[in-house]
Amino acid sequence: MAARRVSSLLSRSFSAASPVLSRSQGRNGYNGSRMVRRFGTSSAAEEIISPSVQVSYTKLLIDGNFVDAASGKTFPTLDPRTGEVIANVAEGDAEDINRAVKAARKAFDEGPWPKMTAYERSRIMLRFADLVEKHSEELAALETWDNGKTYEQAKTAEIPMLARLFRYYAGWADKIHGLTVPADGNYHVQTLHEPIGVAGQIIPWNFPLLMFAWKVGPALACGNTIVLKTAEQTPLTAFYVGKLFLEAGLPPGVLNIVSGFGATAGASLASHMDVDKLAFTGSTDTGKVILGLAANSNLKPVTLELGGKSPFIVFEDADIDKAVELAHFALFFNQGQCCCAGSRTYVHERVYDEFVEKAKARALKRVVGDPFKKGIEQGPQIDSKQFEKVMKYIRSGVESNATLECGGGQVGDKGYFIQPTVFSNVKDDMLIAQDEIFGPVQSILKFSDVDEVIRRANNTRYGLAAGVFTKNIDTANRVSRALKAGTVWVNCFDVFDAAIPFGGYKMSGNGREKGIYSLNNYLQVKAVVTPLNNPAWI
């Protein structure tokens, strides 16, 4: 593990030693003097805070054991604050996926899991939730270390939500009901909601543990077994909670976790002939590949939760200060690395100037720095690739003549920190208004009436989420129904309860996760039809 040496991560004047990784070199972006803005950076962060957690699990979890990859290969997982190696992790490939699927298959076909009572399954999930709470500090630290999200966010929001989601799904396990169904003749008809089998799940790096919960929770509640592939950027916490699940009494083979890359481990999971269902969260491009692999292999049903370019619409009657704050949160939360980020901020022309002014002021106050430090609002982007991609979009914004209100550059010269960036006068045809940037770049657009903004908000290939800010019930109801998006937040944003379903219209995906709806992804419906002799009623 690299030494955590003194580093003035956030000081522009600091001249760092050679970056550990060559891929962090050659970064230029708009961090020249003309772009310099005073952001509320953590000036006292002279030292990179050393996480108070050991990396104990770096091997694949297959059939209840932590094992090396069949190839013996490993890959480094990096600290996005510095680009340094945190740990070398087993690099799973097709052979490991085969092993994991075999274990999951056996645990499903022969093992105790689907044959247990639902109540007993729920008890194990509840015990797991207790263990998550017991280990919340280690988990939060590990998540921050691997991902770069603020420790405060991980500790106070994400880990509690992880436990909360498993409690929620534990409660579903013994309440999954089929129907008895009316027939046109003398038949007794019942539907059985059966577990679908072995579920392949591929999760992203932006919310590693929450995405773990969204996928693993309903699959387990329904009685399935799982092969989960984590993102190569953030493999660490899934192993940790995998261990906790074993401790909670989950039988071996029910939850298998393979770390590795999408093109190898991910692809072999998606095309596996013995995987009954696939769930993927990630980019739309990768989602297309996944769907193709499913189509070309065994036609396994696929749930996709993909990209977004979600509109955040502020009407003239909205509480502007609240809207500014929420629009800021909607975009910058988690370093802008949210599929549902409110990345097109539509503001009514009568309040546009005031809004832009306030949005800029808010962005300038955003505190960027070491995510382990208290009071930090924004950590680094996940890796150099994402960093470069975001910087490329910022250049594109400037080149297409959007007004750069603030930000636009790197923060510090180490790790992947980007200044909170606000563009105004953004037009619908600009790249920054069309593509998912997945970074701290807010685009503010102007509109003049309801019909127009509905049309423009829907004029995207995505349809994940939307925000509507108005005090008028008629506007709220009408726009909520008119927007083609899976979630509409009215006078709020990023409200992610366990029971609220989430998913996309159009190219933002298919299927819904969370809530009662997520159970459908992991159940087969079987109709059982029996003739009736002399029934008392039909």
């Binding site: 509840l126 409690r167 409660g171 109801n477 029996t530 029934p535």
Partner: protein, 501 residues
């Protein structure tokens, strides 16, 4: 013929009785009148403890506390998940006290201690855990309005202050079956346990304090039906009353609700449940189910299979097997693990059961086995089986609530169905057959809330349970039970320029 075995009635030591007072607004209190009543050990008729005798004034105090906790307190304003956390904590505490709770029910109700430990108390805990999981899954619906330009949705709101009146035969399970869904829904409540078995309810009250329920959410008023129970049923500030007990008392509860504030009433009442054994049944299994169905919990169970109808082709074989098995049905001290049947709950019930046995004899039924008391103290009765029972006999028509089975013979499926439905009750029924057509036809034909096929007492947390006809008007257990504790509110508003309707 002397039936069954008696293990002599070994006496275990009484558990320590820690709670004897009313539990109101988080405090254990004496009754306002200062009065107490005695709760009796049915093994010997001796007094276990003196319990505060709640009456109208105490019910008023408890309702006030519950009203305040509902109208102003945090309970209905918490998220479902926060309520679930507290209910789960409560469940953990119940599980940590299984032994003590089982002992209280055994000494107070004459129930088998062993069954309490592996059956009643874990089932009570299971109800709480199940409804903890349900607390964040109470969904209203958005509606498809038929009128143009209208948007509608429903909210499922907690109904308010609930009065629960629970019986003495399953003090723990009945407490949980009523209290748990009401808690999940966000209601506050006043619970009146039966005067025969107040002990475990007070212990549950104590645990509720430890679990962290806000004061006033759960109140327990011990006392009698005609005083405390009546005060609950007729209270103007109780929004819903839920009662499990006899059909006669159920009628009074409903009348009291009708003449007071028209509060909603859930009734789970008596039964005279049929068990139909068809010619193709497995003889051994059928005999076992019949005995279990009728004698379990000394026959003090509203779903008891007190009318056993056997198809003529298999009748003799099943009866023979049943008599053979009845000999092994050991009656004795409920703390003795070899006992399958303890004493009846009290003198009144004991005498009532004995009077039905006399009626059976006098009306010409054939006493195949049993019919006597056992020992010279306590309220033990032999498992009793009458054959040749006809539909005009009292023992065919009335709920005995004791270990007394009536055997009848039938010929055809149609006759079996007709006999099964020949009752004012409609709580449960059993079918023993391997024939899928028989099972499907009979299941749909019997007018009863629960049908057990090749099993009996297949209660489950997720399976709703309740009666047709005069067996009641509600469903408990499962997600259906939540509806009893929820109001449905419809909200409608104009909708302009919606792209779809």
């Amino acid at each position: 013929m002397k039936n069954g075995k008696c293990n002599g009635g070994a006496t275990a030591e009484l558990p320590e009785i820690k709670f004897t007072k009313l539990f109101i607004n988080g405090q254990f209190l004496d009754a306002a009148s200062g009065k107490t009543f005695e709760t009796i050990d049915p093994r010997n008729g001796e007094v276990i403890a003196k319990i505060a005798a709640g009456d109208k004034e105490d019910v008023d105090l408890a309702v006030n506390a519950a009203r305040h906790a509902f109208d102003h307190g945090p309970w209905p304003r918490m998220t479902g998940f926060e309520r679930a956390r507290i209910i789960n904590k409560y469940t953990d505490l119940i599980e940590q006290n299984i032994e003590e709770l089982a002992a209280l029910d055994a000494v107070d109700g004459g129930k088998l201690f062993q069954m309490g430990k592996i059956g009643d108390i874990p089932a009570a805990a299971g109800h709480f855990r199940y409804y903890a999981g349900a607390a964040d899954k109470i969904h209203g619906e958005t509606l498809r309005m038929t009128r143009p330009s209208l948007f509608g949705y429903t909210l499922k709101e907690p109904i308010g202050v609930v009065g629960h009146i629970i019986p003495w035969n399953f003090p723990s399970i009945m407490f949980a079956m009523k209290v748990a869904p009401a808690l999940a829904a966000g209601c506050t409540m006043v619970v009146k346990p039966a005067e025969q078995t107040p002990l475990s309810a007070l212990f549950y009250a104590h645990l509720s304090k430890e679990a962290g329920f806000p004061d006033g959410v759960i109140n327990v008023v011990t006392g009698f039906g005609s005083t405390a129970g009546a005060a609950i049923a007729s209270h103007m500030d109780i929004d819903k009353v839920s009662f499990t007990g006899s059909t006669d008392v159920g009628r009074k509860i409903m009348q009291a609700a009708a003449t007071s504030n028209l509060k909603k009433v859930s009734l789970e009442l008596g039964g005279k449940s049929p068990l139909l054994i068809f010619d193709d049944a497995d003889v051994n299994k059928a005999a076992e189910l019949a005995l279990l169905g009728c004698f379990y919990n000394k026959g003090e169970i509203c779903v008891a299979s007190s009318r056993v109808f056997i198809q003529e082709g298999i009748y003799d074989k099943v009866v023979e097997k049943m008599l053979e098995k009845a000999k092994e049905w050991t009656v004795g001290d409920p703390f003795d693990s070899s006992s399958r049947q303890g004493p009846q709950v009290d003198k009144k019930q004991y005498e009532k059961v004995l009077s039905y046995i006399e009626h059976g004899k006098n009306e010409g039924a054939t006493l195949l086995t049993g019919g006597n008391t056992i020992g010279d103290k306590g309220y033990y009765i032999e498992p009793t089986i009458f054959a040749d029972v006809t539909e005009d006999m009292k023992i065919y028509k009335e709920e005995i609530f004791g270990p007394v089975m009536s055997l009848m013979k039938f010929k055809t499926i149609e006759e079996g169905i007709k006999c099964a439905n020949n009752t004012k009750y409609g709580l449960a029924a059993g079918i023993v057959s391997q024939n899928i057509d028989v099972i499907n036809t009979v299941s749909r034909s019997i007018k009863a809330g629960v049908i057990w096929v090749n099993c009996y007492f297949a209660f489950d947390l997720d399976s709703p349970y309740g009666g047709y006809k005069m067996s009641g008007n509600c469903r408990e257990s499962g997600m259906d039970a939540l509806d009893s504790y929820l109001q449905v509110k419809s909200i409608a508003m104009p909708l302009h320029n919606s792209p779809w309707m």
